[in-house]
């Protein structure tokens, strides 16, 4: 499997790896995928009082493209409001990383991770 330079860069030097403390203010978590399918992504966002995502962290169990997709997404969501973050589409991720067709599901999973994190944030803050 030939990977693009951008995938290799994110794979070799993943951005924003880690986890926030569970009880930190404004933190929401999205966990998507399944071990049996070979991909699990955990995306955490930390949202300020103004509704802007201040920070993001990820951990991913998956192939190089899955790691790169989630690493990229942590960079992209920072500085966006949660509504703006929801506008990030898998096609943009796939295009940025030049993912081959068999790896498109990695970008879809990364988009799902954003949606899951935002849903978790809304559940915690608008309930």
């Amino acid at each position: 499997m030939a990977y693009s330079d951008k995938v290799l860069d994110h794979y070799e030097n993943p951005r924003n790896v880690g986890s926030f403390g569970k009880d930190e203010e404004g933190v929401a978590t999205g966990m998507v995928g399944a071990p049996a399918c070979g991909d699990v992504m955990k995306l955490q966002i930390k949202v300020g009082k103004d509704g802007v995502i201040e920070d993001a962290k990820f951990k991913t169990y998956g192939c190089g493209s899955a790691i790169a997709s989630s690493s990229l997404v942590t960079e992209w969501v920072k500085g966006k409001t949660i509504d703006q973050a929801l506008d990030i589409k898998n096609t943009q991720i796939a295009e940025e990383l030049a993912l081959p067709p068999v790896k498109i599901h990695c970008s879809i999973l990364a988009e799902d991770a954003i949606k899951a994190a935002v849903a978790d944030y809304r559940k915690k803050h608008q309930a």
Binding site: Y11, P35, A36, G38, M41, C63, G64
Partner: protein
């Protein structure tokens, strides 16, 4: 000086030993005759070389040279043995027994027989990869004509109880075929004692060239085959086609060297294997696949939990190894062999087969141990599953959203 990537995939293929290559070359250029040419010296010398190689192959496995048939490799040998015997003996019955962990060259051949109207039983293996003889006995029917079991498994290196299976089959009058592609030069094979009727061999797993193999066909008691390749009646009509003298000479020399050197070579390989084993099982949450005792000395198959297989292969590109998942362009299929051991998909995905060989050095093993320790650590830092495991979460109890 290390040369990258370090080759640790000797179960896939081996380099041709330089001593073997040197023996082969004159048979390509100077002595190019057709061994079937009976009317001149070119043919006679080629025939003599072919017969000498036949003796060398027979000597490694305790057979008579007359019982060795040249083929293009173990896949062809398996096809000829299984289809040839099934077709010849179908008047006696149409049931065949094999094992779920066999090589595809056996499984797909048995599937083909099923399409032709034969019935097949695929035996389960135990958790250690070995077959249970009672399970085999229970599967035998009055119409069973053929049992086919591999000597050494290509993925996990376990050695099946061939002697015991042979006794069971002979007692019941069932033809017994053994795929020994992975066994030559690794385990002692004495066909004078083993009650095996047909045995497949390959040259390129034992430092010989690709494209040449052999099939042992027992003469006492005589085993009959229906030819699968028709033509000039070579190899006593069982396999037509001009003999590839240079390939055959190579296989003969490779098997001669294997016979001479296997005792000392296997002791050395076992030492390296144990060094690798100790260096890798020090990593937390790793599992050796397959029995460690009933096993060839040069194979180690390990699952690294909470790390995904494809990213692991990507991380260790400085070594050439095989992954437990067949990472095709379309999908990531976990190994059917590891699944047959009862390993879950996740562990099957994250397994690596290390197979060492004649040219592996201690320095290469030490580099591999260091590399795996570093990269497994790095990937686990990235892994949410590792984090959950460390937090004491039972991953099997989590409701995952399969996609």
């Amino acid at each position: 000086m290390l040369k990258f990537p370090i080759y640790l995939d000797y179960s896939a293929t081996t380099p041709v030993d330089p001593r073997v290559a040197a023996k082969m070359i004159p048979w390509l250029t100077e002595h190019f005759g057709n061994p079937a040419s009976r009317s001149h010296a070119y043919g006679w010398e080629a025939e003599q070389a072919v017969e000498e190689a036949r003796e060398q192959v027979a000597a490694l496995v305790g057979a008579d040279a007359k019982e060795i048939i040249w083929t293009s490799g173990a896949t062809e040998s398996n096809n000829l043995a299984i289809k040839g015997a099934a077709h010849f003996y179908q008047g006696k019955g149409k049931h065949v027994i094999t094992v779920k962990t066999e090589h595809k060259a056996v499984l797909d051949t048995v599937r083909e027989l099923e399409r032709e109207g034969f019935e097949a039983t695929y035996l389960d293996v135990q958790e250690n990869g070995l077959i249970d003889l009672d399970v085999l006995k229970a599967a035998i029917r009055p119409d069973t004509i053929l049992v086919t079991v591999m000597f050494v498994n290509n993925e996990i290196g376990v050695v099946q109880p061939i002697a015991e299976i042979g006794e069971i089959c002979r007692e019941q009058g069932i033809i017994f075929h053994v795929d020994a592609a992975q066994a030559t030069g690794k385990v002692d094979i004495d066909l004078g004692k083993l009650k095996v009727d047909l045995m497949s061999f390959s040259a390129h797993k034992t430092y010989g060239p690709k494209g040449i193999g052999a099939l042992y066909v027992r003469r006492k008691p005589r085993v009959r085959l229906e030819a699968q390749m028709h033509g000039g009646g070579h190899e006593r009509g069982m396999r037509s086609g001009t003999l590839a003298t240079h390939q055959i000479v190579g296989m003969g020399e490779a098997f001669r060297l294997a016979r001479e050197e296997m005792a000392s070579e296997n002791a050395r390989l076992l030492g390296l294997r144990d060094r690798l084993l100790n260096g890798l099982t020090g990593i937390e949450a790793t599992y050796v696949n397959g029995d460690l005792e009933q096993r060839v000395p040069h194979n180690l198959n390990i699952s690294f939990a909470y790390v995904e297989g494809e990213s692991l292969i990507m991380a260790i590109k400085d070594i050439a190894v095989s992954s437990g998942s067949a990472c095709t362009s379309a999908s990531l299929e976990p190994s059917y062999v590891l699944r047959a051991l009862g390993r879950n998909d996740e562990l099957a995905h994250s397994s690596i087969r290390f197979s060492i060989g004649r040219f592996t050095t201690e320095e290469e093993i030490d580099f591999t141990i260091g590399l795996l320790n570093e990269k497994i650590g790095k990937l686990r830092e990235l892994s949410p599953l590792w984090e959950m495991y460390k937090d004491g979460v039972d991953l099997d109890a989590v409701q995952w959203a399969a996609h």
